[in-house]
């Protein structure tokens, strides 16, 4: 069951024909209003939740986006922005009374400025297309979410996407230098640019990861980096997850920050091996893929050190890539872990909590107990270097009650992450999916502070309402919460 969304506004729905006509005047060939054609937009990467939008609008220019938002503001019509629709948290789930604003036509690389080491792209350009554009000159765009072939840079900005290499090279937020965006009233602004620091408050840092709640990004300036001379991967097997965890800690204690450091547990290893035949050992409980990059001399030096640390921590198997093809095969299993699990279970539900690394053995043990309690299997892939877990809960949607049980199991895992000092989501976003768990991590005061920030951008709550926040406050009511000697009223606002 998807969490409840804001009640559709009848007045808006009754004006649908008028709204369609008005938006068609702004984007003559870019409005879709028949149910059959809108069906592809009814969900994103979180396919368990579906909703047809009131209409779909596909602008091509910043000016059109500005006019659309101006119209929607004046007419109090809600807007749900959408990039490539790969969100795993339902960030682009449509609203029955909302405009689904698809940014797919913003698909051009506008400029590559090698002198300043930046690329300026439209938000619909895919993550991988940026690297493709610059790799001839020896560059790449560092954040590499597993969906990089499909996901758009605009979506990456909205979600602050990570990837297996963000341990060393950072998340989207660390690699974006500027945006052009349209505010809900149609105002077009620029934040940041080709330089490494913006003037004034770091509003750019706030926009990245704001899940489409603060405005619509129409252009993105990203840093591009020279591709390291060489990358080599080491595949290390362990008899238990605790030893694998100590190996991860040992690598970091030695002052080594690998380009990537991934862990898989037994169910994930077996699923991946059956799917891509990456040559993973099947008689181990945990597998680490540790990637080192840089000059050949650095890779050789660090691989020797990592191998020694692995042995000290009881590694039972160890293999180092000797060619680029072998390295890519090692990664192929990990990168295909989700579809591989899809082959062993009719459905799976992917979680995304982050924990302090030292809590890993405890969390994995608790997860096994929860798995027994809920009667559902779980396979774990884990960005071990930065503590980001991706438990894949195995279920069958055709069996009555299993989806609900999977959701409960997932919620228990996320509560566990917060309980051990971690967070609800490391890179997939809150969206609809984790919205109602926000109070597990934040107090009402914390969430109100975030909503005050939201109100600074979007006073009528028209941008992607129903996402991120468990309660939809009206900004006017928030605005009345003036301080009188620290006594803040707490209006008893209805849950939707």
């Amino acid at each position: 069951m998807p969490p409840a969304m804001p009640e559709p506004d009848r007045a808006t729905l009754s004006r649908r024909a008028e709204i369609v006509a008005a938006l068609r005047r702004i984007v003559p060939n870019g409005v879709i209003d028949d149910a059959a054609s809108m069906a592809v937009y009814e969900s994103d990467g979180l396919t368990a939740y579906r909703q047809l939008p009131m209409l779909v609008c596909l602008p091509e220019t910043t000016e059109q986006v500005s006019q659309i938002l101006k119209y929607c503001s004046a007419n109090e019509v809600k807007i749900v922005p959408r990039g490539a629709g790969t969100s795993l948290s339902g960030g682009a789930l449509p609203l029955a009374d909302g405009v689904l604003l698809g940014m797919a036509k913003f698909n051009r690389v506008l400029e590559v400025d090698y002198a300043n080491r930046v690329a300026i792209v439209q938000p619909g350009v895919t993550n991988l297309a940026i690297t493709k554009e610059v790799e001839g000159e020896g560059f790449y765009y560092a954040p590499d979410p597993s969906s990089q072939i499909a996901c758009s840079i605009g979506g990456n900005v909205a979600e602050n996407s990570g990837g297996v290499h963000c341990l060393k090279y950072g998340l989207t937020t660390n690699n974006v230098l500027g945006v052009e965006m349209v505010l809900v009233d149609g105002e077009i602004i620029r934040l940041g640019g080709r330089q490494l620091e913006q003037r004034g408050l770091d509003l750019l840092g706030l926009i990245v990861g704001s899940e489409g709640l603060l405005g619509v990004v129409t252009e993105v300036t990203v840093r591009i980096l020279p591709k390291p001379e060489l990358a080599r991967a080491v595949l290390v097997g362990f008899a238990d997850t605790t030893s694998a965890g100590s190996c991860v800690a040992g690598v970091i204690a030695a002052g080594i920050i690998p380009a990537g450091m991934e862990m898989m547990d037994r169910p994930a290893i077996h699923a991946a091996e059956a799917f891509v035949h990456a040559g993973y050992p099947l008689d181990v409980e945990a597998l680490l893929i540790i990637e080192l990059d840089g000059p050949a001399a650095e890779c050789d030096h660090l691989i020797d050190r990592v191998a020694a640390i692995a042995k000290e921590n009881g590694a039972v198997s160890l293999r180092t890539s000797t060619s680029e093809a072998e390295r890519l095969t090692m990664w192929a299993g990990r990168k295909a872990a989700f579809p591989a699990v899809g082959r062993i279970s009719p459905d799976y539900y992917c979680m995304d909590g982050t924990i302090p690394r030292r809590k890993l053995p405890h969390v994995l043990q608790r997860m096994n107990e929860l798995s027994n309690e809920h009667g559902l299997g779980v396979a774990n892939v884990f960005h071990a270097g930065d503590g980001n877990l991706h438990p894949l809960i195995l279920y069958d949607a055709n069996k009555p009650g299993e989806l609900e049980r999977a959701e409960e199991f997932g919620a228990d895992i996320l509560r566990l992450c917060v309980e051990v000092g971690g967070v609800l989501t490391g890179e997939h976003g809150v969206g609809v999916e984790k919205r109602d768990l926000m109070p597990v991590m934040f107090t009402e005061t914390d969430l109100n502070q975030q909503q005050h920030v939201k109100c600074a951008f979007d006073p009528a709550s028209l941008m992607n309402p129903g996402k991120v926040f468990p309660q939809l406050h009206r900004c006017a009511e928030m605005g009345r919460m003036h301080v009188h000697r620290g006594q803040v009223p707490r209006p008893d606002l209805p849950r939707f």
Binding site: D113, N174, I256, G294, G421, K454, G486, V488
Partner: protein
């Protein structure tokens, strides 16, 4: 000066100030107090909240209270061969004030990163979470204690560079990194502004993992110095040195700088240490790196002096007061901005320290400030100037 002992006392002070509408200036070590306009405020010092709350080297995470001294934090991290990778410095090195006074809240409030910015990121990239008291007198928190976290808005980004105008920090969590085991500085002498930035750009475009790159123009019969710093494991530094020597052979002769000389050189660059002489205004300008030479030419055209860090992307400059308007114009034309870091009181009275923003962005920033501080009590006039018509 108010010196609350804990979060509860801060809440009371803030609530009272909000009720009375009086301005509070949050002070850490006080080393950056003279950045901004002369103004009437009540100072709120966080110096008594100075504990190291949690430090687990294996997690690469440090949690401290705002008044913790930068020098103390760096000494603690050094014991475990770790560091704050964004390369902060004690602001006394820039202004010549009392040393070892800088606190972590001042480092975060200013958002100033040192020379390693180009390779390791800025303060914003290392602040993971915080606790604070907002202008409503409420205790709030945002972010978290782990490096990978997208739960809710990334409010920690806003704190870095907020100059105490959003809330009073009461606890911060930072990402720390291993200290590189070795460092080597390679220099070329006698390059022009343009050839230096070209050479640094070539190095940045190569897979050489340049940690820092700076340029000091010729002065007093000393040739210009273009310096490139490599950090990491010995064999890697060796390989990258060879790569750069080959790559830049047409630009000039690249030679290693002696370690102690290199140490002093980078300290001076990081702190923007330019001799004051008869040039009382100190500027910190951030521009697209390839525009560095144009900006430096512009500074010199108006009688100033300057030097470049961040491979051309950061320029420290000294000028006379009359050059203020042209300097801002030079920065703007290059696509960047200029912050006034130090100036006599009368100049600070007339010229806003922070480069003014376009109207729509300024209005949005103001709304975001009000989202934290509805009564406008947190040092509201710091970046206002007499010449400005904008109300606080």
């Amino acid at each position: 000066m108010l010196q609350p002992a804990d979060e509860q006392e801060i809440r009371e002070i803030v609530s009272h100030a909000a009720g009375a509408g009086s301005a509070l200036e949050i002070v850490g070590g006080g080393s950056k107090r003279n950045i901004g306009a002369p103004r009437e405020t009540t100072q709120l010092s966080t110096s008594r909240l100075n504990r190291i709350v949690d430090y687990d080297p294996a997690e690469l995470i440090l949690t401290v209270e705002p008044g913790a001294r930068l020098s103390e934090i760096e000494a603690l991290l050094a014991q475990h061969n770790q560091m704050l990778a964004f390369d902060p410095w004690d602001f006394a090195e820039t202004t010549g004030g009392e040393p070892n006074g800088s606190t972590i809240s001042g480092v975060i409030g200013s958002g100033f990163a040192g020379s390693r910015r180009i390779s390791a990121g800025s303060v914003r990239d290392h602040l993971l979470g915080f606790h604070a008291v907002n202008g409503r007198g409420e205790a709030i928190k945002a972010g978290g204690n782990v490096v990978k976290n997208v739960t809710g808005y990334d409010l920690p980004k806003l704190m870095a560079g907020s100059w105490g105008q959003l809330c009073v920090l009461t606890e911060v969590t930072l990402k720390v990194l291993p200290r590189p085991p070795e460092s080597r500085t390679l220099v070329m002498r006698d390059l022009s502004h343009a050839t230096a930035v070209d050479a640094m750009g070539q190095a940045m475009r190569a897979p050489a993992d340049v940690a820092a790159a700076s340029y000091v123009p010729a002065q007093n019969n000393e040739p210009s110095i273009t310096a490139i710093r490599l950090e990491g494991f010995g064999p890697s530094i060796e390989a990258r040195s060879r790569l750069l020597t080959g790559l830049l052979k047409n630009a000039g002769h690249l030679e290693p700088m002696e370690t102690s000389e290199a140490g002093a050189h980078w300290l001076r660059i990081r702190a923007g240490n330019l001799p004051p002489a008869l040039l009382p205004l100190l500027w910190r300008m951030v521009v697209p790196p390839a525009r560095g030479p144009d900006v430096l030419d512009g500074i010199e055209r108006f009688g100033g002096i300057g030097m470049m860090d961040w491979a051309g992307g950061l320029i420290w400059a000294r000028t006379v007061a009359e050059a203020a308007a042209p300097i801002r114009e030079v920065a703007e034309l290059a696509g960047g901005h200029a912050m006034l870091m130090s100036a006599p009181e009368d100049v600070r009275h007339d010229i806003p320290a922070r480069h003014p923003e376009p109207a729509a962005v300024a209005a949005l920033s103001q709304r975001v400030r009000r989202a934290f501080d509805p009564a406008g009590i947190f040092d509201p006039l710091r970046f206002e100037a007499k010449a400005s018509e904008r109300s606080p």
